[in-house]
Symmetry: C2
Subunit: 317 residues, 2 copies
């Protein structure tokens, strides 16, 4: 296990700067009044490819030697990592092979292809995904870039909180959603290196609370097949992300599906931003635990904006 | 008719700065590729009270003498001006009376009351609105702040393009939606004073194309009761805004309802911002007239973000 260092973060930031947006920080006096906290929303929904994952993907892709890059990159993902790796590979002009379940949303498949990624479909099961991915990797020789359990990816994601700490003075805490833990690990890496007084909180759907239970138990507990509207947060922690979570995170909060949908709609309505259900989990956690955040300056990472506008959660039922 | 000057704009900007956001400018490489232009979106949907109208309303409210302010302000509006004037009056701690049709959306009424505005309802007709407003104004003695045909309001709206020209170098053109003409007039005022080489374009729904027909005819033509999804753009030009339109606007383009809805959904999807149908009219115009904008650096003013999330236009039918 290779733990990325803050020097890796600095190198990542220089490497990816031409390929990513320095995303803006928005505030809402309405949400400040509602929570009693001062909230600073780092809008990675405006990031290239629509999510913070462009940071880690660009760092992995642009860090490859020319020789390695020639064979391209590959991954398995049905979500933003697939888009982001395709985007990064497209910027470098190298092949990107993505294994996606055939049941993945057509819009996501279209977006991967729009960035030049090549999709190989698998059945929606771990067995099929691993078998198909092994075949694709063997055939192409492409470098595997894991969605989160990869030091290059974590160093890339860490550039997000580095920007936020530069954009907002005197933050007391940062909060981000947790799924596999890539964003939270990057946040921990930046904070413990540059702002050790800042507390890092993670927010997780109650329906997929494996990170919460892992944190409380002191060892990784993986859920089997969690179901939540926050579809970016279903994946489990791995060794590298667990290292950061268990060593640096102050606490993990969970939110119910209704709390997530309410916080999502509230953010759209008051902040006028399109963001994924996953991004609403931190605000839902803040609203449900006001005593933790009241009177504090809190950075909230809005992780991505790739939603299906024809299928919004408050339209259902 | 008192034409506001650029000195009025400078005074307005200093006056309102503590009460408004300097809104960010966003870009989209996807939309640049699609249009062949370089587009810079000035995001007034993130403005206080959710629309650029907070600028003009704050300028009017904070420019009042203490004696005048004590009697408060009043207006008639079913839209963003009602919210913005209530917001501005609330910031100054003075009364705000708003005449709104009883058929106005409940969400808009709730928002006005949320900012401390007092609503007097009228029937949804010009006769009723004028009669009720006259009664309210006589009773309260409040200062009437017209939604757009007011030099204080136009000077306030002009601060938006002043910021945009400061935020983006080398713009060739600016484009904004046109209804009553307040934003376009402010844009003309700034441009002709500080950047006379920049062209100003207006974009209007084809279903409410009174400004377009006025511009071509050389005199004001008012529509009777236009119907368009871009509900902020139904009102006619007045003498003050006509002065700016006929003297400074380069051209006016129109867009169909379908073009507006398509451009709105495209912007939500690719730029991840919540904006009103009115804001989509400029992009619809650019997409329908690519030869005018290709190869140019174009500032696009996104005017507001107060939409009903339960009733999005692409959900209908």
């Amino acid at each position: 296990m290779q733990i990325p260092t803050f020097e890796d973060v600095l190198a990542a930031h220089a490497r990816i700067a031409p390929h990513i947006h320095r995303t803006p920080v928005l505030t809402s006096s309405y949400l400040n009044d509602l929570t009693g906290a001062e909230l600073f929303f780092k809008c990675e929904n405006f990031q290239k490819a629509g999510a913070f994952k462009a940071r880690g993907a660009c760092n992995a892709v642009f860090g490859l030697s020319d020789e390695m890059a020639a064979k391209g990159v590959c991954t398995h993902s049905s979500g933003n990592h697939a888009l982001s790796l395709s985007y990064a590979a497209g910027r470098r002009g190298i092949p990107c092979n993505v294994v996606m379940p055939r049941t993945a949303p057509q819009a996501k498949k279209d977006a991967v292809r729009g960035y030049g990624g090549v999709i190989t479909e698998c059945e929606p099961s771990t067995t099929s995904r691993e078998a198909v991915f092994a075949e694709v990797q063997a055939r192409t020789g492409g470098e595997f870039v894991h969605p989160y359990n990869d030091p290059r990816v974590i160093a890339g994601q860490a550039t997000c909180s580095r920007e936020l700490l530069d954009q907002v003075d005197g933050l007391d805490a940062l909060i981000a959603p947790i799924g596999g833990g890539g964003m939270i690990s990057g946040t921990c890496l930046t904070v413990r290196s540059t702002a050790p007084g800042v507390q890092v909180y993670a927010a997780e759907p109650k329906n997929a609370d494996d990170a919460y239970r892992s944190f409380k138990a002191g060892h990784i507990i993986a859920d089997d097949a969690p179901e939540t509207i926050a579809d970016g947060l279903k994946v489990p922690l791995k060794d590298l992300t667990w290292h950061f979570v268990q060593s640096t995170v102050t606490d993990i909060f969970t939110a119910t599906e209704d709390q997530i949908i309410d916080a999502m709609k509230l953010t759209w309505k008051r902040m006028k931003i399109v963001m994924e259900p996953s991004c609403a989990v931190p605000l839902a956690a803040i609203l449900a635990n006001p005593e933790v955040f009241r009177g504090r300056r809190v950075g909230v990472i809005i992780t991505g904006g790739n939603v299906d506008l024809d299928n919004l959660p408050w339209m259902k039922g």
